[in-house]
């Protein structure tokens, strides 16, 4: 039964163009931006003046390498995560789907699994590509390898973050059910809310900021814990996973309770 649901969800996701476009946008933006930033940093390496980027490359190289491209590129995965579920509502396909699978939780589970695997594969390819392209551009100035402490964990962590981010978006999409509203909400949670809360001074605001889904989640992509971080990389990732699991749970509960 679950096998059928998985192949069904795979057919759904591969048979619409939005999947291909979102993934292409993700790969192109992430690799393009990372390459651009690495090239600019490399070009300016020996010019006079302060070089905060060079300091970051020594203390926390993956933060710079991944931060550039995935900061923007991740939004394509957010959009895909949302529309994987909201497009069923906006097009009415949800009715067809639920007639075939009246037990709604297994359908949601199959959808989440299929999308997570797709997200994981796309993220793994892109994260490793970004890592090797950026480090080879910078290799004449600094050697960054997977064998250095924290780098492998941060690289794998980047892939895990992008995978969970997709599921986080899917959950928001399932809660809100409208494409535009859900995309706006996810982008606000990922890009807008964290810097706003970060502006508020004080330790309480600092802790709230640290426990926000994506501010906690991105910590796993850092090579080493920074002094200002409230959480360690794995703690941060755990907090992000917890947010996502809770939201998926509420999403599943409402999916069963609400009229389709």
């Amino acid at each position: 039964m679950m096998g059928g649901l998985l192949s069904s969800e795979w057919t759904k996701i591969r048979s619409v163009r939005s999947t291909v476009w979102s993934l292409l946008a993700f790969v192109i933006v992430a690799i393009g931006f990372s390459t651009l930033v690495a090239a600019v940093v490399s070009n300016n390496w020996d010019k006079p003046g302060p070089h905060p980027n060079q300091i970051t490359l020594h203390t926390n190289p993956t933060a710079l390498i991944f931060g550039a491209g995935f900061g923007i590129g991740q939004l394509a995965l957010c959009v895909l995560g949302v529309i994987v579920i909201t497009s069923e509502y906006s097009t009415g396909a949800i009715r067809s789907s639920l007639l075939a699978v009246p037990r709604r939780i297994p359908m949601l589970a199959a959808k989440a699994v299929v999308f997570a695997v797709l997200d994981l594969v796309a993220s793994a390819i892109t994260v490793f590509a970004v890592f090797f392209i950026s480090t080879s551009i910078l290799s004449s100035h600094i050697s960054i390898t997977l064998s250095q402490p924290g780098v492998t964990r941060a690289t794998i962590g980047g892939i895990l973050y992008l995978t969970v981010l997709g599921l986080f978006s899917l959950a928001i999409g399932g809660l809100i059910r409208h494409t535009a509203g859900a995309i706006a909400t996810v982008i606000a949670l990922v890009l807008v809310v964290p810097p706003l809360i970060g502006l508020i001074p004080g330790t309480i605001a600092n802790h709230v900021h640290g426990y926000l889904p994506t501010t906690a989640g991105v910590l796993i992509g850092q090579t080493a814990q920074q002094p200002a971080d409230v959480l360690s990389p794995w703690q941060g990732f755990g907090v992000f996973c917890l947010w996502t699991v809770v939201l998926l749970g509420v999403c599943g509960y409402l999916l069963v309770r609400r009229d389709a």
Partner: protein, 313 residues
């Protein structure tokens, strides 16, 4: 019992089914039965709650109270629902970016229906040539055919069709009508909603009529028409004025037809004949008339029409 087993396969039963959306009662303690082996028409004015009832039967919406079962089981209890029930609810239930074939394929995969069956149903509804075209480019009629194809995927014994003729050309409507009759003749349950009374008169063997969400009538189509109180007699006579007086004296009522004939209500044809004979009046025609299904329907649902309700039900 490990798995609930259907005791009366093919029987659709609604018991005290009630659904409210906010303050508005869409379905009001609706109880009816739909039996296999015949086409059962589900009639009601727009906004009467037909589509909502269909959604409740299929488990898309949750009733506030009451139950709807298919073969004794709630829809959600069916292990492979498409093998038991085929439903065409709204034609726009397809992702416009997905091809017809992929739409049917993903539905088939949920129940382990082989892909070969997808091609069969596409052929059945005449969409073979556009199977790999995106559904967004389909006409309403083609979407309707795709919906029927989806309903037929599991070769189900129960079919729920909500306004299947919508958007179809006359040929398509005839096709659907014959299709439903064939399915019923094979012993399947066919439950079809329509606001087209004329269509139901030639398609349905049995009727469930609702208005404002409540049951108005449940009977065979013939009975439904006959039971209507508005039976009348068409009378042609050269001496209308005399006969009119006699009829009115006897307690009948007289209306004028468009082409000048008298329409008498409240008196049976033999009594009118006797009155005419008693007064030595010549009669050219004396014909008892059954009301059309349309008239019977309008009479029964008068007062239960939701004025201002524009949403197709």
């Amino acid at each position: 019992m490990l798995w609930p087993v259907a005791e009366a396969p093919g029987l659709i039963e609604a018991r005290e089914l009630t659904k409210r959306y906010g303050d508005k009662v869409a379905v009001d303690h609706l109880t009816f039965t739909v039996e296999p082996g015949r086409v059962t028409g589900f009639l009601g004015p727009n906004g009467a709650g037909k589509s909502t009832t269909m959604r409740l039967i299929c488990g898309l919406d949750r009733p506030n109270s009451g139950t709807a079962t298919i073969g004794g089981l709630a829809y959600a209890q069916l292990s492979k629902p498409l093998d038991t029930v085929g439903a065409l609810l709204e034609a726009r239930s397809v992702h416009p970016g997905r091809s017809a074939r992929n739409h049917l394929l993903y539905l088939a995969q949920t129940q382990g229906i082989p892909p070969k069956r997808v091609d069969e149903v596409l052929d059945l509804v005449g969409l073979k040539d556009v199977a790999r075209k995106r559904a967004g480019g389909f006409s309403l009629g083609m979407n309707q055919r795709l919906g029927i194809a989806a309903a037929m995927l599991g070769d189900p014994r129960v079919l729920l069709l909500d306004e299947p003729g919508n958007g179809l050309d006359p040929e398509g409507i005839r096709w659907v009508r014959n299709f439903m009759k064939t399915l019923a003749a094979e012993g399947r349950t066919v439950f079809v909603s329509s606001h087209l009374m004329s269509e139901m008169a030639v398609t349905a063997d049995h009727l469930v009529v609702i208005g404002k969400g409540a049951l108005i009538a449940e009977s065979s189509t013939e009975e439904f028409i006959e039971r209507s109180s508005e039976r009348s007699v068409l009378v042609r006579t050269p001496d209308q004025a005399r006969l009119r007086e006699l009829v009115i004296d006897e307690g009948g009522a007289v209306k004028q037809d468009e082409d000048g004939a008298m329409i008498v209500t409240g008196l049976p044809a033999p009594r009118i004949g006797e009155l005419a004979a008693g007064a030595s009046l010549v009669l050219h025609e004396l014909t008892p008339r059954l009301p059309s299904l349309e008239e019977a329907f309008m009479e029964l649902t008068a007062g239960s029409v939701e004025y201002g309700e524009t949403k197709a039900s």
